[in-house]
């Protein structure tokens, strides 16, 4: 009790609950008044602490009994809703496997479940979802979300030099800086990924029910919460696709995709369909974007034309000194390179004094002309 004899700073007093009680509630259980008067130096400290406390008021907003009990029942209601939601989907899913006629209903529920799950990553109580929740939480530090609400695609550059062309009504969550041995991003909607090569740090895209793993390639993922299928289409390199841990109890297969192959995950049936010839698939061909059709193999092509190709592919605007670069031609292969890498290679090929700067969809190239 006499630890207060050693108090030398205002802080010591402020943190003493009994002191607070004396000053604020005038309840002097420990003889503070007497103790204070014993010593002049002490009295000064006490007075300082008292004034500080008086100026540091926090209004106690004590809710009424009725408000409290309303809040409590609202919380129980939330709990009941979430428990019911979860049990319903799991139960009917289990039944659905044994009885075909229930399968449709179960799948429909699962779809609801997943689309809600994607937006409220942490609202359900299952072991599988807890692990996903933990995943997000683990990554939560510095996780940035970009949403494309415009009508044009948006280019996102990641910290490892990879680029993602995000389509309208889509969003991507990614860490500001990739740390650790894995690169993980979360997609809702559609994006075209060009991943910088790094075999030591595989790159994962979590999109609805599936996880796509690559070390460095380009591919497109389409995973809108409100559409029946999830698609992955590969342009270069090798891509592995597997179901999210959530579905692990159901099946645990991994599909390997090579260039110009695709995979369609049918959410209704929970099946993977590999598509070997994408040109014969009407849905895939109709949704092919500029960036996938354009060739980035250039042989003796004027620089302004190369830049125009990039503008079209990535829906960016490039500002460059037209006159100075008028005579410049390049032979280069830029396929399979993320946008920053493409720009770097172009600048390097033109000459030493050529640099680029990128700001959202605006790119500025400065140059003194080519070698």
């Amino acid at each position: 009790m006499q630890k207060r004899n050693n108090y030398t700073e205002i802080e010591d007093f402020l943190a003493d609950e009994s002191f607070q009680k004396w000053i604020l509630l005038k309840i002097d259980e420990e003889g503070w008044e007497e103790w204070t008067l014993e010593n002049r130096q002490r009295a000064k400290l006490v007075e300082d602490a008292r004034l500080l406390l008086l100026g540091m008021k926090v209004s106690k907003n004590q809710l009424s009994k009725a408000e409290l009990s309303d809040a409590l029942s609202a919380t129980w209601k939330k709990i009941a809703e979430r428990e019911a939601n979860f049990q319903k989907s799991v139960l009917s899913f289990k039944r659905g496997i044994s009885r075909n006629w229930l399968f449709g209903a179960a799948a429909a529920l699962l779809i609801c479940f997943f689309s809600v799950w994607f937006y409220q990553k942490d609202s359900f109580s299952t072991d599988a979802i807890v692990s996903y929740k933990e995943l997000i939480e683990e990554n939560n530090e510095g996780l940035v979300e970009q949403t494309n609400n415009t009508e044009k695609s948006q280019i996102i550059t990641l910290s490892d030099g990879s680029s993602v062309l995000l389509q309208p009504n889509s969003k991507l969550s990614y860490p500001k800086i990739f740390t650790g041995n894995e690169r993980k991003v979360y997609l809702s909607g559609e994006g075209f990924f060009e991943i910088s090569k790094n075999p030591k740090k595989p790159f994962f895209v979590y999109a609805n029910e599936i996880v796509t793993r690559v070390v460095g390639t380009s591919f497109r993922i389409k995973a809108y919460p409100n559409q029946q299928d999830v698609e992955v289409l590969v342009r270069t390199g090798k891509v592995r696709v597997m179901p999210n841990d959530l579905l692990k109890e159901i099946k645990n297969e991994e599909v390997v995709l090579l260039p110009n192959q695709a995979l369609r995950f049918t959410r209704k049936e929970l099946t993977f369909n590999k598509i070997l010839n994408i040109t014969e698939d009407p849905i895939l061909t109709s949704s092919t974007r500029n960036i996938e059709q354009l060739s980035f193999e250039f042989t003796d092509i004027p620089v302004d034309q190369i830049l125009k190709t990039i503008e079209q592919a990535y829906q960016v605007e490039i500002d460059f000194p037209k006159e100075k670069l008028q005579e410049c031609r390049l032979t280069t292969s830029l396929s399979d390179q993320p946008l920053p890498e493409k720009l770097k290679i172009i600048c390097k090929s033109i000459g030493n004094e050529t640099n680029y700067e990128m700001n959202g969809n605006q790119i500025v190239i400065t140059s003194l002309g080519c070698n």
């Binding site: 809040a71 409590l72 530090e141």
Partner: protein, 201 residues
């Protein structure tokens, strides 16, 4: 007093472990005990009181739903405050999708300290308290939040460090610097008054 504090802690620990075992009554008791405090704290982080209510209720709902995976020994109050802070930060991130640097650091303590007017008896005190209050409210948001958590919520430095996602030393600095700059300004500007009041006492 100190034994009361101890009892309070034992109470919380018992309630917590009962809750983990599925006791609804313990859940309700903890809810009623801390709900108001959490709402006040939440309101100092976000101006949208309805969303704050939602967040606090979700924190409790989570506790119940995930009670099996909760840690055995926690300081309940610190855990609750920290969960509320995290949830509001997450909500904030979701609502500010175009902000590039959304993280737990981006939510700001909006709260202003007020004055215990009822306890200020004379004009001299009033003047000084008013001045102190002004200095306090001019502190950087994080320093203010650290002071609030330390002296109003009774958290220790370690718990504050964990909540604000900084190391122990930084949390200590937040508190210390807050008071230090206060003291400097304060003493620097009214030494005479101080002397006077000391002699009065």
């Amino acid at each position: 007093m100190s034994h009361i504090i101890k009892n309070k802690l034992i109470d919380d620990a018992a309630l917590w472990s009962n809750l983990k075992a599925g006791d609804e009554k313990s859940f309700s008791v903890l809810f009623e005990k801390y709900y108001s405090d959490l709402i006040s704290y939440g309101n100092s982080l976000s101006p949208y009181s309805e969303k704050v209510q939602d967040c606090v209720q979700d924190v409790f709902a989570d506790i119940w739903l995930y009670r099996n995976s909760l840690q055995e020994y926690v300081v309940v109050k610190a855990y609750l405050l920290s969960s509320v802070r995290k949830r509001i930060a997450r909500l904030f991130e979701r609502d500010h999708i175009f902000r590039k640097a959304a993280s737990t650091e981006s939510i700001e303590f909006l709260f202003d300290f007020s004055i215990e007017n009822d306890l200020v008896e004379d004009e001299l005190t009033a003047e000084r308290v008013l001045y102190l209050n002004k200095l306090l409210n001019e502190l950087p948001a994080r320093q203010k939040e650290a002071l609030y958590l330390r002296y109003h919520q009774g958290l220790n430095v370690e718990q504050i460090a964990e909540m604000l996602d900084v190391n122990y030393q930084s949390a200590n600095n937040l508190l210390y610097r807050g008071l230090l700059s206060l003291r400097k300004d304060w003493k620097g500007s009214i030494p005479l008054i101080l002397l006077l009041s000391t002699s009065v006492l």
